[in-house]
Symmetry: C2
Subunit: 271 residues, 2 copies
Amino acid sequence: MNAELAGWTAPHVARIEAELARVMPEVTGPFREALLYPLRTGGKRIRPLLALAAAESVGGSAEAALDAAIALEMIHTYSLVHDDLPAMDDDDERRGRPTVHVVYGDATAILVGDGLLTAAFERVADSSALVKELARAAGPAGMVGGQYLDIKAQVRSLDELVHLHELKTGALIRAACRMGGFCGGADADQLVALTRYGAAVGLAFQVADDVLDADQDAGEGGPPSYVRLLGLEATRAEAHRLAVDAITAAQELPNPHVLVALARFTVERTV
Amino acid sequence: MNAELAGWTAPHVARIEAELARVMPEVTGPFREALLYPLRTGGKRIRPLLALAAAESVGGSAEAALDAAIALEMIHTYSLVHDDLPAMDDDDERRGRPTVHVVYGDATAILVGDGLLTAAFERVADSSALVKELARAAGPAGMVGGQYLDIKAQVRSLDELVHLHELKTGALIRAACRMGGFCGGADADQLVALTRYGAAVGLAFQVADDVLDADQDAGEGGPPSYVRLLGLEATRAEAHRLAVDAITAAQELPNPHVLVALARFTVERTV
């Protein structure tokens, strides 16, 4: 991450972390501890950052998109908690910490996920546009549908892989950009640009992750990936093509600098 | 159920069933089948019926509360799907049919629950009041919090049992009445009456269920219940007291007949 982008993200990440630490004030005791545990990940907070950056890109304030940003991170976090369950991916660790079901048990992990998912909608309840966008992106025709494809479908072609990622991770990242746009007061043309930016950057992230994973696990068996289907060089080229597409879309906006830097950061990780 | 109440419920249940059969039209294929499977239960549809009846009780149309009713039943259904999982109550059958995880596997059952929960909020997205009410009632300070108490807490007193039921089942039933009221155009006083009605009828249902369970499982070990804590006769008396409280609240409304009949039906099951 370059110094200019880091200078923007540091205070915004701090703001997001502070808000995440005090969500759901009405819940107390041991259940509150379990609910907050997966929110304290030290993750990149890409989705909330994109929402805040999108709001600023159209001339709004980051603060106006804060509720949307928090709701997006709660949804992303619930999906990881459920994804890590023994019945799903059965992951014992995430970012070096034991996963929720390891610490609190499977039943509590299911309820933590359900609780975060439900509370996310309360957080954006005042805006019909945000509720609709979030529900569509996270629901059975979006992220949850992508999870279903991931556990069930045989991905054999690049088209099928792109479709899987568009649902599983792309839908929520695209929604982050659109929701930030709503909060920042985007007009219809700006929303179109943010939608194109979000779709490209979401896929770019996934493609770049595949490059990073290929560098780490070269030769091992594993799930289908861009690298397996396209090869490493063509995958790296595809990540760049997507980043350029995202940057081109961002440059239609009045204040594109952070979105452009975030798109660059996506692919810089791969070189 | 008396003939007058049955005459009201039959067409309204038919309307609810028809809507439930066509929710989430954008989702197709095997995931759609899994999502719709638990919605076809032949259950009593108490929550959506209460929402429709509450709308009519304040002079609104049942049709105005239909989206709220469907969202409530989707939330209730997701909670049953997750509750039945091996990691939770591990139930193989519900109403004589194999549960979702038995038919489709645990991973799909988790995603079916997540999908129904998320799509429920899309259904009521146009109304901030409905989203807020539903999220609070179903979330960590409501139904999900009650589920957590149910799997974790040692219930030793009547107060603790009442608190558990107020969260686990009461909050959503109360929300059904209030949401119906919002949709029917209730004024502030009418909302107070519907809230009192909903709280009383929600608890009455649970108390009455305990009486029915006690008749069926007399002498067996099991979870704490009103019957175990109060004895059968005192529990039956408590169900009646709650029904009278619900009926008294309903009678403050312009068109209370169906709500009164539903409250009576609650306790008639126990004698």
